[in-house]
Symmetry: C2
Subunit: 270 residues, 2 copies
Amino acid sequence: MDPRPIGVFDSGLGGLTALRELRRLLPGEELIYFGDTGRVPYGGKGREIIQHYARQDVAFLRSFDPKAIIIACGTVSANALTELSAENDLPIFGVVGPAAQAAAGATRSGKVGVIATAASIRSGAYEREIARLDPSLTVFPQACPLFVPLVENGRFRPGDQVVELVAEEYLAPLRHAGVDTLVLGCTHYPLLRDVVGKVMGGNVTLIDTGAACAAAAVQCLEEQGLLARRETGSCRYFVSDSPQDFARLAGIFLGEEAQGSVERIEIEKY
Amino acid sequence: MDPRPIGVFDSGLGGLTALRELRRLLPGEELIYFGDTGRVPYGGKGREIIQHYARQDVAFLRSFDPKAIIIACGTVSANALTELSAENDLPIFGVVGPAAQAAAGATRSGKVGVIATAASIRSGAYEREIARLDPSLTVFPQACPLFVPLVENGRFRPGDQVVELVAEEYLAPLRHAGVDTLVLGCTHYPLLRDVVGKVMGGNVTLIDTGAACAAAAVQCLEEQGLLARRETGSCRYFVSDSPQDFARLAGIFLGEEAQGSVERIEIEKY
């Protein structure tokens, strides 16, 4: 039993889709969420700067003495998990491994699609991890650089012509390749589930990376006896841009109004 | 006569459209360009964080002892010019004033449209400046939050279905309002000139903020005897993300390959 908090971070607010799942699975935990809204998005940036930002994000969360940290961000998981794990003496969970495992378990045709940010796809992390789990699988990676700006502008609902047109374009190669499983490799993408599902068709299994990561982290913490086992938990939110903008957007990702305090911090000091 | 360099900065690479014009007008000057590619875009962020970043951008450029600084960024000009001018004892030029002047001079119908980032439109800076110049003019502001991500992903050419659909949507209210002059209030937007022109029709005058700002700055420096009057100038580029990505994108904005060195700096140290 460990009463310390669990730290969760993302380049922005997409990671709240993972936090939501974590709260559902672990209602008694104390969660600290940091969204780097002042420097969002990470997905179009270079590997070196992503690692630099991720180190600051982890350093900030470590100021709360957490028992574990969850990288609720596909881009950071794909570009910095190895380094962060080597540099920190506490469990750090990324989204790539759990999502790869879920995809390898779900596919029947052996053809798995991965959609993610440009930086995630360029890293090759999803392909490597899926190949490690089952070398017989074929992975079809597709960068979707406009998906994050579209979601952050509230453009993710079926019927929105722009997002449907962009999804058609990005997903056409994967549909033609005949993938039966598709990893939504960015924590913003669960909001696009309906649009993506409509384009890919009902027979394609969509893997939610945030949910897969939350489930894997919970299992691991349980095995190590690190859960708090409280009746009621809590959540505190920190951002690097204005808390007002957070409040406006957070509900979209959480599916409900954010409960708990929201504070702005200066992340570049960490 | 003043041999010192001129500093130019933007949240990213859009400001290169202004730099290009500056080099055309002042081939003998030494220009220092900083693009904050590690934190781009600014246009969706809050005023406070935009001012914080802009102060760091100016502090970095001041390390070269410049004779003047040009804010080649609509979002920073609209949200931080007053503060930066008050805090610095050298001429600082923004894009809002010159663009407003050009628009006020061009309109015949008295109806002026302004398209810009969400942060620029929210600031009301273009409206205030145009009203100050001529209170009889009516301004129609329109935030276009997807334009910057589209341009940064190379999606700005006529025939690109996505950018044409987005432009149709954003510009419809301005077309219906009957504006005869439209301020392209972000230095990324000159690349969208053909797409915007196609939607608005040939009778609408498009104002390029970067070019208007460059022209105004040159006139002012000339009047104050601050030009260098060299035969051949130079340009040095600095970015906060990888120089490789800069090289790939810069040509789009400059209309030619970038000549001159490119270095990465750690902007958060300033």
